[in-house]
């Protein structure tokens, strides 16, 4: 038996420690520890609800748009505000841009280095690389120039962000051709450009990214001009082209070399989605990606989500506030004693849904949408399953590879919808709809904004008294996924997913890092 610790787990948002127990080359227990406490919920007290729209975005610099919207929606829910239709479409567009941005950045800049070895790319034959790119149907870059840039960089002897990387780790697919490694390196560089293009859309609609400005309670401050609509549509078209012709083919080209990752990393098999991208209906279950709960232990079926089923435990986290509370009554009182995996070991609380430890994220959304019969989701998932030799077996998605595939496939679904929504907005504006903001007064009420960040289910709960915030609680996707153990000692979703992961080299547990990172924490 050996304990392995990865601290910090790099290439994520925030500070995370991953500790695993390894027996005979397999993870048998795991603890993940969130390393940061800022006290956002306390900072928001006694401020105006609209201030929470701005400040609460600072919970996460990678998904601020979703936090902003969840905050604004909680206020709108509390005050009974219905936003104009144009504002609804504009919010969908800015979220779509953030999803595309976040997923591209995650796959190429954060996760890819767990599967692609840049040093191996140096062995690639350039002509063969072009041939392979064409055969895989993926984007062609100036592969020779990329190889030369990489060689020059390596020859310089200063490896910058690649310093001390686990080059040549035995867990890299040994049969993956050097040419595919080079393609991935080239697309890593392209991805840095494409994520920035997506962020430009957020800036056009929202003023800037990260931390946008426009989706205030009541609607949006952004009134599009013809020029702005054109700027937005053009960028979405460019992104759609890249996702379709580079990101998806890359995913399908690399996945077969890691088919073993279909066998582990699934975790509890419980999935929650509040639903994402609003239609004109106010119901979570009517969203483009409908809300739903899937407990695979009870079969591949989906139930409607019930926000009343959420409670948070703090037995193993550094809080001395009461445990087992619903977020609408939740408290956040930090305390610190020591890091002790037998007792308290994380700043992350342990949220539970209907008593269960439950996973949030693209896999949850895609599974719920698939089971609810959302057509573009069914089509792309069925296509990918066939390509992986698992036609008709969506249950294989409950795995490490499934979690990654779900995120990348979702990027394509959202990129397609984004073009639809651009046209919807253009038609609405051309048809004379000039309403963007619903004036309102702020007195009192309690409400919730239940929404989905790119990395999963997100809830903001607000209680407004005399125009000011009397209580504020947030349950982020990573609170769900990076959850500490609960009162019963049940592991959080990431901890559970780690159990059963094969680890070749205990000193360098790359496979465990892959599983942790697959949650995009």
């Amino acid at each position: 038996m050996a304990r392995a610790v990865v601290d910090p787990l790099t290439r994520i948002e925030g500070h995370l420690r991953v500790e695993v127990e390894v027996n005979d080359g397999v993870v048998t227990d795991a603890w993940v520890s969130g390393g940061l406490y800022r006290g956002m919920e306390t900072i928001l007290l006694d401020r105006r609800p609209s201030d929470a729209f701005y400040v609460s975005q600072r919970i996460c610099g990678v998904c601020p748009v979703s936090h902003g919207h969840a905050s604004t929606m909680s206020t709108e829910d509390a005050l009974g505000i219905t936003i104009p239709n144009n504002a609804r479409i504009i919010r969908n567009l800015i979220e779509a841009a953030q999803y595309i941005h976040s997923h591209i950045l995650w796959f190429y800049a954060l996760a890819a280095l767990d599967y692609v070895d840049p040093v191996k790319a140096l062995e690639a034959d350039i002509a063969d690389t072009y041939a392979l790119a064409q055969a895989a149907g993926t984007g062609v870059s100036d592969f020779g120039a990329v190889a030369q840039r990489l060689q020059t960089f390596v020859d310089g002897g200063q490896l910058s962000i690649f310093t001390n990387g686990w080059f040549g780790h035995p867990a890299y697919a040994q049969d993956m051709p050097a040419e595919l490694h080079l393609i991935a390196v080239a697309h890593y560089l392209e991805a840095l450009e494409m994520q920035a293009v997506a962020a430009e859309i957020i800036a056009i609609i929202g003023g800037k990214f990260p931390h946008f400005m426009t989706s205030v309670p009541g609607g949006t401050t952004f009134v599009p001009t013809e020029q702005k609509l054109d700027d937005i549509l053009f960028r979405f078209m460019r992104l759609n082209d890249w996702v379709t012709n580079t990101m998806i083919p890359d995913t399908l080209a690399i996945a077969p070399f890691y088919a073993g990752a279909l066998e582990y990393g699934g975790g509890h098999g419980n999935f929650l989605s509040w639903g994402m991208f609003n239609t004109e209906s106010p119901e979570m279950t009517d969203r483009y990606m409908p809300g739903g709960v899937v407990m695979t232990g009870r079969g591949l079926t989906v139930e409607d989500p019930d926000p009343a089923q959420v409670v948070e435990f703090v037995e193993h986290a550094w809080y001395d506030s009461p445990t087992g509370l619903h977020p609408s009554e939740g408290e956040t009182n930090g305390m610190f004693d020591e890091y002790n995996t037998d007792n308290r070991y994380s700043w992350n609380k342990a949220p539970r849904y209907d008593g269960e430890s439950i996973e949030a994220g693209p896999l949850s959304r895609m599974l719920v949408s698939y089971l609810r019969g959302v057509q573009p989701v069914q089509e792309i998932v069925d296509g990918a399953l066939a390509a992986l030799g698992a036609a008709g077996r969506p249950e294989v998605l409950v795995s490490l590879l499934g979690r990654i595939a779900a995120r990348n496939l979702e990027t394509k679904v959202v990129a397609d919808w984004s073009l639809e929504w651009c046209n919807e907005l253009i038609e609405a504006v051309a048809g004379g709809d000039s309403s963007y903001f619903q004036p309102h007064s702020v007195d009192q009420g309690a409400g919730a904004g239940l929404w989905e960040a790119p990395r999963g289910a997100l809830g903001h709960w607000i209680d407004i008294q005399s125009g000011k915030i009397a209580r504020y609680q947030v349950v982020t996707p990573s609170t769900w996924n990076v959850s500490s153990r609960d009162a019963e000692g049940i592991r959080g979703p990431m901890e559970e997913a780690l159990v059963g992961t094969p680890v070749i080299d205990v000193e360098r547990p790359l496979e465990a890092c892959r599983v942790a990172r697959s949650f995009d924490p």
């Binding site: 610790v5 925030g14 105006r48 600072r58 920035a196 800037k208």
Partner: protein, 388 residues
């Protein structure tokens, strides 16, 4: 500079994988950012020649949301790949480093051993719970900073959190957050700190400051310190208010305002002052540099500035959508044009109709503009904010 010198530089750059065209483009944009004329482009170019070795740098995340790392990924001249492959050897950055765990920390440790590196710090310094509000690699964030700071040539505090604690230190400051320079002062560590506020940091400013210290060598000569105001902010970035350079300024002068979001007045691009714009008290050059590769900026998207570049920005700026009748006088540097001080003082002192303040206090109409009659709408809405 002679042509042959240019050629030598280009050869060197080519060897590093930077094309001549890309290089000139980014030298040009850097010159513009630094407020230098095109005549400085050769000097910037020549400076590159000095460093056959990339300057080692470390990026630490304190109590951060990672938004400033996200922001730097939005730079385009040079872009983030160029920065980390050909300008800096960024040997440790939690969000991008290939290495993990102890190996990642070891990469940082190797840099700490040789004085002279650049330390970039993102996020608040977390003092709460004896520093345990932030734990990294089994130690506290405070221990990490105290270990990394002394041997650094300079620290660049990116984003408002690193500058003074940012939103994290807003009342009641539950995690006892503070800024890098404040904390180092407490500990008696005298490494120079360059403060780049706003939330997140604008990547163009990071690039400008890196070029300033790396390529122009202003750190070695101490010249960088002359470019900072008393809060450690580069004057060329934080010397004027947003209001000074706002494209909507003309509407302010003319008394054309947006009183409610999403209205015809917004479609006409009127001034956002009545819905809470903090442009008059916020010292950044956002209207010029803009955001996300110049795609837009807050006011262009119809949003009032919330003053995220001000010190103590949340407690000073909130409620963000309310017009502040009594402006807390902002940190006025030494370089402020009189007109701006006039506006600030004017607003603070007067309960006048906004448009009248604009006309008179700017001093742009000598002897004072004839006051307009207060508009009916102004009378009704003087105390109202934007959304509430």
């Amino acid at each position: 500079m002679a042509h042959e010198d240019h050629d030598a530089i280009y050869d060197l750059l080519a060897a590093r994988g930077v094309s001549r065209r890309d290089f000139l483009a980014y030298c040009g944009s850097i010159a513009a950012l630094l407020g230098l004329s095109e005549a400085y482009v050769p000097q910037i170019a020549a400076a590159v020649n000095r460093g056959a070795r990339l300057k080692p740098a470390i990026w630490l995340n304190g109590g951060a949301c990672t938004g400033c790392t996200e922001a730097i990924a939005q730079a385009d001249s040079p872009d983030v790949a160029t920065i980390v492959l050909e300008i800096l050897s960024l040997d440790f950055i939690e969000t991008l480093s290939m290495a993990q765990g102890e190996d990642a920390l070891a990469a940082a440790e190797a840099v700490f051993e040789e004085p002279g590196y650049i330390l970039i710090y993102e996020g608040s310094v977390m003092k709460g719970f004896d520093g345990n509000a932030l734990r990294i690699g089994g130690i506290t964030g405070l221990e990490e900073l105290e270990h990394a700071a002394p041997n650094a040539a300079a620290i660049v505090a990116v984003g408002s959190c690193a500058v003074d604690g940012g939103f994290v230190m807003a009342r009641p400051n539950p995690a006892d957050a503070t800024g890098v320079s404040m904390y180092l002062q407490e500990k008696g560590i005298d490494t120079p700190v360059v403060n780049l506020p706003t939330c997140p940091v604008n990547p163009e400013w990071v690039v400008a400051i890196l070029v300033d210290v790396l390529l122009l060598g202003t750190l070695e000569t101490g010249a960088i310190l002359d470019k900072l105001d008393r809060h450690g902010r580069p004057k060329y970035i934080f010397g004027q208010t947003i209001h000074d350079n706002c494209p909507r300024r003309g509407h302010f002068e003319n008394g054309n305002f947006v009183y409610e979001f999403g209205t015809e007045q917004e479609a006409l691009g009127y001034c956002l002052y009545p819905v809470g714009c903090k442009g008059p008290q916020t010292y950044t050059n956002c209207p010029i540099v803009r955001w996300n590769r110049r795609a837009s900026w807050c006011v262009e998207a119809g949003s009032p500035c919330i003053g995220c570049g001000s010190l103590d920005w949340v407690d000073v700026g909130a409620p963000f959508l309310n017009r502040h009748r009594d402006l807390p006088l902002p940190e006025v540097g030494n370089t402020q044009p009189n007109t701006i001080a006039g506006v600030v003082a004017g607003i603070a002192a007067a309960g006048l109709a906004v448009h009248a303040v604009g006309m008179k206090a700017t001093g742009r109409t000598s002897g004072g503009a004839p006051y307009e009659e207060m508009k009916e709408r102004d009378k009704k809405r003087m105390k109202k904010g934007g959304g509430e």
